[in-house]
Symmetry: C2
DNA sequence: GCCACGCTGTGGCATTGGTCACACCGGGTC
DNA sequence: GACCCGGTGTGACCAATGCCACAGCGTGGC
């Protein structure tokens, strides 16, 4: 782990401010505001597998992923899980409890060694009230998520497993801006994301390869035949 | 249909303001603000079955249900539909497009003769900017929906059909504040809400009756054994 | 180099739940 | 009263997919 001497502190803060600027939620803010946020946020490290927030906890912080990856996950009585999302560098979570004071709606778990920036509720609220631009950004972010959630519901309700996988892959490809999907996902993870079993995902991925829809190399998936995948993601055959 | 003479107009507006006060999204506002909103909103009638907004339309209005019921629905290529929600008096829709200028994410269809209050984007934005309380209310509403959407994803991914139905019934019971479920829902509608077929819903409802979990009288369902239903809604047996 | 562990590939069986095909029923309408 | 129509009950069949079992394989640690 990198040591953080007192000397480095201010530089570190500069970095944070610059880092925040690259995030949609903060990007609209001016330098002074960014600087202030940078100062309000504390850095925190979580080892792989550690639980960052528990469902039903009272929540009082917003988290931004500085480094690493986390999963947002719902866990049923029987221990089976659904992954609502995998968040990478620059993504954030925990806003909901900040806004409505309700308990956390899901667990968040570090998928790798992860470094987060933490912002406390009161600090956040003060900034929002002082600067309406933050409120708009936040609303924009919430609507984006809501649209994604609706799309996910749509997929779960109308598509079979191949369709859901196709859609997932297309989403990731779009996100990464190329045919290559950056995030290294295990079949198990994909299965949890689309509500299917590991085995079915395994077989389906294999079928996709055989049909030439995708290519897999060293755990990295790339989209080879986008139109055909789109086809799969639309109608249930 | 009721006639709306010119003489009645001002009274009608008063009514609207009072009506808005009963809605969480507006309830925080003072009388003057409420009055202003009342004046900005136009009333509009939709016959049963009419489409109020189309998916992919550019959206520029917020709608509040004054009377009647609408369904928010996603429709697949093949015409099959998923109902994201059924909205009754006092509920509203169309906020998303107001916030982020994106096209509508779903169709909204009148389930009965329906009367709506319509507010245009520009008017709405002006009010939000003039009064931060509106922004907070709106964020609260968005987070509420997001939590519900996540719960729905959870249900679709982890529960079997009986479980999803049990959960739906419990939700409605909770909403109505008693064991009796007010909304008259057809099996077909329920099926679309939980991503199942009409027949399976029919059979399951019947089983629930036989097991004494619910009672059905004249199309009205009431919860008879809440703990047992909760049980169903948790673990997949 | 060897082992352990996490990930993947595959077969086989059991179950869920969708689809099709009808029958029935109650309430409006002419 | 005769009819129609939307909603419901039910049986039979079958495809999709979960679950179990086990084998192979790569990679990192010792």
């Amino acid at each position: 782990m990198m040591s953080t001497s007192l000397l480095e502190r201010p530089i570190r803060n500069m970095d944070n401010a610059a880092f925040l600027r690259s995030i949609p939620l903060f990007s609209k803010l001016d330098d002074a505001e960014l600087q202030r946020f940078g100062e309000l946020m504390r850095e925190k490290n979580y080892p792989k597998g550690s639980v960052i927030v528990f469902e039903d906890d009272p929540g009082d912080s917003l988290f931004v992923v500085r480094d690493g990856r986390v999963k947002v996950v719902l866990i049923g009585e029987d221990g089976r899980e659904v992954i609502l999302g995998v968040l990478g560098v620059g993504e954030h979570f925990g806003e909901l409890s900040l806004i409505d004071d309700q308990p956390r709606s899901a667990h968040v778990i570090a998928m790798e060694e992860t470094n987060l920036l933490v912002l406390r509720r009161d600090d956040f609220r003060r900034r929002v009230e002082a600067n309406p631009a933050v409120a708009w950004s936040l609303m924009g972010e919430l609507t984006r998520r809501l649209r994604r959630a609706d799309a996910k519901i749509h997929g779960l309700a109308l598509l079979d497993v191949p369709g859901r996988i196709a859609r997932l892959l297309l989403d990731f490809a779009e996100e990464s801006g190329s045919d290559m999907i950056e995030k290294p996902l295990t079949h198990q993870t994909i299965a949890h994301m689309i509500g299917a079993s590991r085995e079915t995902v395994s077989r389906t991925i294999r079928d996709f390869q055989i049909q030439g829809l995708i290519k897999v190399e060293r755990r990295r998936i790339s989209v080879a035949n986008r139109p055909a995948l789109k086809q799969m993601a639309q109608a249930r055959v």
